[in-house]
């Protein structure tokens, strides 16, 4: 099967080569047969990558320990569930998995538009094939996942050997999130290839109009949604597994995943300026280019060990390949831009500081400044070594100092932006839209202050969250009121109806609501508490309102590991609440151990208990407990963001249908019944 897999991979490389070279020839000659064959070759590439990936999965399932990659990342006792995850637990497999996910996207694009957009698609096909070609080169010739296990003999040649069992999967990866986090994040990373290909293709082909934007909007949102989920799942994994009580540590690899998310978010917003007003064309094209390059950079940071990180793999030569590829991409983008610069001329100018355009402009500015700050902080060790000779790194204070104010500014814009009119907003409309949200926000601030909240950023954040939340609720309320007057349906049904009529606008609001929830959770960090104590059995440790009573210790034998458990009773105000079982798992196969945090989570706060190990001197177990307020809001907010994105991806219910329905329900038409209905249908407010 390993020969089969690697053969499929080589064939995929050949097909990609044809899709690339033949595609260029097709663009030059415009020969229909050539165009068709290049497209089909692109599809064949994808199919062969599927086959190759599946055969690697098969090697894991069939416990084939003659393949080096399988030996390093699996063993017989590993559960089936984690054998799938073992596919992307190492360098070679991850890169093949990258190709696999990209192939899904590429195949969908080539198939969906096989008989549409004839002018544009040959270019798109060539660009996609180019990207695939790079990853296939790596997987075939630099880091092959199908390499047989060999041992050097005296003459320097390799003898093939097979092992009875593998080394097992790294214990920190043996958690359910690890099975879903990387695919999500990679789907985000790879997904941004599609908008990149369309943007570059439109620029190269001087494709008229804003059609490429309409074409790529849904692909960008899909990639963005996966990226968001991937980041949050990663954060949740770090929280539940690593046992340090937090979920975001500004680690280089975390930062790497945030960078394309920031520019991708900026793009999703600024693209509306181009759609509605024909502005920011250069900016948008470059945002897409940069987002794609940041995705590649993210992969480079994870894979090469350029910056030290808990995630990074051992030093490897793969970094130089990625640097080379980044240079090629940047070169192509620059060349295309300078050649066809005039194609991107703006049709309008900014009119007023208090306008939708201006809010988008500042939204983009904030996201970009955040991106630059995170990027420079992450790469600081590299740059400082180049310029000063000594390697200097920056830590959390650097990132927090810049990003907290930026985050709050962004939150403010989230509330304000969608309610400003295009071009210029009148004072009356400002008053009408922002009177109640401002009053509610300030009231919430005063209340929080009276209850003893003194941390400035947390206080500002709560005020803004209430402000933004109320603007969104107000929007739903206003829209639903109009629908309700006409249809007489319940508030909930009216809200659903409203959302389905303009999925893009109301889906966007739902995403914003999710972001507000995430910010509430982030602000909770200002009130974290922690305690660490050696605890004899039968004694308690106090944290916040809770008393943790260590009842006993026990040991649990599982298939793949042995777990030492603490049995902890949680008491709140002297009343028993529940039992928690923080564990330390010892994996005999690779002599490693991992923590399993026990969390009692409510919307108010998380009680987070870690068994931090046995002190060998005193022979007492150490418990490390945290109270992390509001953390759950982050995860729930994430789910709301995903839901909102899915809503925004649904096609809006056609206006015609709505009008027909309005006419039939308004059997005895009253004048006031029809007019607001038209207000609800007003376009161009998303």
């Amino acid at each position: 099967m390993d020969v089969f897999g690697s053969f499929a991979l080589i064939l995929a490389f050949v097909c990609a080569l044809y899709a690339f070279g033949g595609g260029i020839a097709a663009i030059v000659t415009r020969h229909p047969l050539l165009i068709k064959s290049a497209r089909q070759s692109g599809m064949a590439t994808c199919a062969l990558i599927f086959v190759s990936t599946l055969s690697l999965v098969y090697l894991f399932f069939s416990d084939n320990y003659s393949v080096a990659y399988v030996v390093s990342h699996s063993n017989r006792d590993l559960s089936t569930f984690f054998k799938v995850a073992a596919l992307w637990s190492g360098q070679e497999g991850s890169l093949l998995f990258w190709s696999f996910l990209l192939a899904i996207y590429v195949f969908s694009v080539l198939f969906t538009y096989r008989s549409k957009n004839g002018e544009l698609m040959p270019y798109v096909g060539v660009i996609l094939a180019g990207v695939q070609l790079f990853f296939l080169t790596i997987s075939n010739f630099v880091a092959s996942p199908f390499k047989a296990l060999g041992v050097a003999n005296a003459s320097g040649a390799f003898d093939l050997v097979a092992r009875a069992d593998g080394n097992g999967l790294n214990p920190v990866l043996q958690y359910p999130e690890m099975v879903i986090h990387p695919p999500n994040l990679y789907s985000g990373y790879t997904g941004f290839t599609i908008p990149f290909a369309f943007a570059l293709a439109a620029l190269l082909a001087r494709y008229p109009g804003e059609k490429w934007i309409h074409l790529t909007r849904k692909w960008t949102m899909i990639a963005w949604c996966f990226q968001s989920m991937g980041i949050l799942l990663g954060a949740h994994w770090a929280y539940a597994v690593l046992g340090w009580g937090g979920y975001w540590g500004w680690d280089p690899v975390e930062n790497a995943s945030l960078l394309p998310w920031l520019t991708g978010t900026a793009f999703l917003h600024s693209v509306m300026m181009q759609e509605k007003r024909g502005m920011m064309k250069v900016w948008n094209v470059w945002l897409v280019f940069v987002t794609f390059m940041l995705c590649i950079l993210g992969t480079l940071l994870t894979r090469s060990g350029v910056v030290s990180s808990v995630h990074a793999f051992a030093q490897s030569s793969i970094g130089s390949w990625f640097v080379g590829f980044l240079c090629v991409v940047a070169g192509v983008c620059l060349a295309a831009y300078f050649k066809n610069k005039d194609y991107l001329k703006s049709e309008n100018q900014l009119d007023s500081l208090v306008s939708r355009e201006s809010s988008f402009l500042f939204n983009n500015l904030v996201l970009l400044v955040a991106c630059v700050a995170v990027l420079s902080g992450t790469l600081f060790p590299v740059f400082s070594e180049w310029f000063t000779g000594s390697r200097i790194s920056v830590g959390a204070p650097f990132f927090n100092k810049v990003n907290i104010p930026l985050g709050l500014l962004l939150l403010f814009l989230t509330g304000v932006g969608p309610l400003l009119a295009w071009r210029k907003t009148s004072t009356e409309s400002l008053l009408r839209n922002f009177k109640w949200p401002s009053i509610l926000g300030l009231l919430a601030g005063v209340t929080a202050f009276m209850f003893g909240v003194r941390e400035m950023f947390a206080l500002i954040c709560f005020v803004l969250c209430v402000f933004v939340g109320s603007t969104i609720v107000q929007e739903f309320f206003r829209g639903a009121k109009v629908v309700r007057i006409r249809s007489g349906a319940s508030w909930l049904a009216s809200c659903v109806d409203l959302t389905l009529r303009n999925t893009r606008r109301y889906g966007g609001y739902i995403v914003h609501l999710g972001m507000v929830m995430i910010f509430i959770g982030l602000a909770g960090q200002a009130f974290n508490k922690e305690v660490e104590k050696e605890l004899p059995i039968g004694s308690t440790v106090k944290i916040g309102n809770y008393d943790l009573l260590l009842q006993s210790m026990d040991q649990k034998q599982e298939k793949n590991y042995v777990a030492d458990r603490m049995i902890v009773e949680v008491l709140r105000n002297d009343k028993p609440v529940m039992m928690l079982y923080p564990e330390r798992r010892n994996f005999p196969t690779n002599q490693e151990s991992g923590t399993m945090v026990a969390i009692y989570s409510t919307l108010r706060e998380d009680l987070y208990v870690v068994y931090a190990g046995m002190n060998p001197q005193t022979n007492l177990p150490t418990v490390h407990a945290f109270i992390n307020p509001l953390v759950k809001w982050v995860w729930w907010g994430g789910m709301v963001v995903v839901m909102g994105t899915i809503v925004a991806l649904l096609p809006s219910r056609a206006a015609v249908v709505v009008l027909a329905k309005a006419a039939s329900t308004a059997g005895a038409p009253e004048l006031g019944g029809m007019r607001p209905a038209q207000v609800a249908l007003r376009e161009g407010h998303d």
Binding site: S72, W88, N170, H311, A373, S390, P397, P405, L409, S593
Partner: protein, 140 residues
């Protein structure tokens, strides 16, 4: 032109305040990378800067006390006594002979006071019977 100026001012204010915040954060958290051998050659203020040093944990040198863990870091023929005083629990991979990256400041008495420790188990996938494999620690 006036409108453009307004935007310019807005953008300028944001960018300048962020740059100054970044500068403050940089001053607070900048950390130098040094090797164990370099540590002895540092002079003046460079000796009291925040820094990161990599090395191997000396076999049998880990002593756990309440609120503090002492051990000796070795490398390049040098050894350095370290006291870890950070609040995070030590990583599971922090054991005898593991590779560790310590972060903190040297104290006046020659000990190194570390606030953060990262550790990688060096021996993990190496020299397993039957073949030599590349060391590939934590995943994505």
């Amino acid at each position: 032109m006036k409108k453009q100026a307004k935007f310019g001012i807005g953008i300028g204010v944001i960018v300048i305040s962020m740059v100054s915040l970044a500068w403050l954060g940089y001053g607070e958290s900048k950390t130098y990378y040094h090797t164990l051998a370099e540590l002895d050659t540092l002079k003046g203020s460079a000796r009291t800067e925040r820094m990161r040093i990599g090395g191997t944990v000396q076999n049998g040198s880990i002593h756990r006390m309440t609120g503090r863990v002492d051990f000796v870091l070795e490398g390049e023929g040098k050894s350095l006594p370290v006291s870890y005083v950070g609040s995070d629990p030590l990583p599971d991979t922090f054991v005898d002979n593991s590779q560790a990256l310590i972060e903190g400041r040297p104290a006046a008495d020659g000990r190194f006071v570390a606030e953060h420790i990262q550790a990688k188990c060096a021996s993990k996938y190496e020299a397993a019977p039957g073949g030599k494999l590349p060391a590939t620690p934590a995943g994505t």
